[in-house]
Amino acid sequence: MWKTLTRWYHQLSSPRYFYRFASAVLPWLMPIAVLVLLTGLVWGLVFAPVERYQGNSYRIIFIHVPASSGALMGYIAMGVAGLIALVWRLKMAEVMLKAMAPFGAVLATVSLATGALWGKPTWGTYWQWDARMTSMLILLFLYLGIIALQSAIRDPRQAARAASLLAVVGVINVVIVKYSVEWLNTLHQGATLKLVGESSINDAMKWPLLISMLGLWLLYAANVLMRARTEVLNRERRSGWVATLLAPGAKE
């Protein structure tokens, strides 16, 4: 067991092997991700029963909850990749961190937009600074901070290490922000009206939600592999294997 782990570690940490691995995985991962996501969404939108109190606007949760969880998991994954990149100077960890940022920021934006559009019919207002939405807003700012820092520094290696440090600091900050915002909210509104928490929805709603979440996470993974391939080419542009790979007329 240990031998395969170390072999896998050495292989996956070499950009060249990763490029081949990603090129092999993407052609089937992408369609599966889209398929799973669509089934989850269609099931939730079309077939799931209406929610007693809210009516049909609750169907937004089938995109809102997966997006929120994806944005949060994405940032935590970036924190971990950042730590690995800083401590072990692993080029692939730096590549993954840069690859995860854009889609994470998109999911944070989607979470905010869908949360607001869901809030209006349900609680009468697009935005009410409740704990979850405020945390998501700060998370979006953290994502934008990393993307801005990474694009502001010219040397890709230095940009990656700077972004790694910021990601590690950011992850610690996300935890503290969550507590501070939750404290802020308990002070003012009492417990926010929890009409639809994960636990309270019945099975007919739970399955489409889980499938949509799986689909969106797979899509996130596919997007990360795509962007990581690009970043590997970018970082390895002077190496021999990229030259042979991209030589005019070479088979992709």
């Binding site: 010219r154 040397d155 290696r157 230095q158 542009r237 002077r238």
Partner: protein, 202 residues
Amino acid sequence: MTDPSARLTVSRLGCERDDRMLFQDLAFNARAGEIWQITGANGAGKTTLLRILVGLHGFYQGQVRWSRPLAPDLLYLGHDAGIREELSARENLQFSRALSGQSGDLDAALAAVDLYGFEDVPAGRLSAGQRRRIALARLWLGGKSVWVLDEPYTAIDQAGVAKLDARLREAAGAGVLILYTSHHRVGDGVRQLRLGAAGEGR
């Protein structure tokens, strides 16, 4: 090719900046008591090479190996001499001495670089040449066996050049390894390392 008596061993050293190779496959051994002059056109990466050797710049291919940990023995004068204009010559030197762990006498060092009488003038009001000499005064504080100097001869007048040459030869004689970038050659017996001019072979 590693030579046990070498204080510094560099092999297959290459550095890339803005998608262009500054230098590539650089290899040499430097031993205590030697003076190395590093030359090359502007932008050939001389400063970057020094910053790699002292450990400030980490993005390079190849290997840089010091036989003993460098930091305690290192006297590094960077491209900008690290002098703050708000502080006086003495205050600047006092801080550099404390930071690098040297222990020589401040006034003697400042006198050696003809700053006698200017010790307490804020560096901002001194001339460019005088400001650089505040940093050069560290060469007279002693206690360091590896000197890495980036353009030590800039803004130094004729008399200063002769004094600096003498000091470098004296230190090398006492076993100090000196690497410096400049067009000025200290004297014969100085080993030269020429980095490919940026324009060549483009």
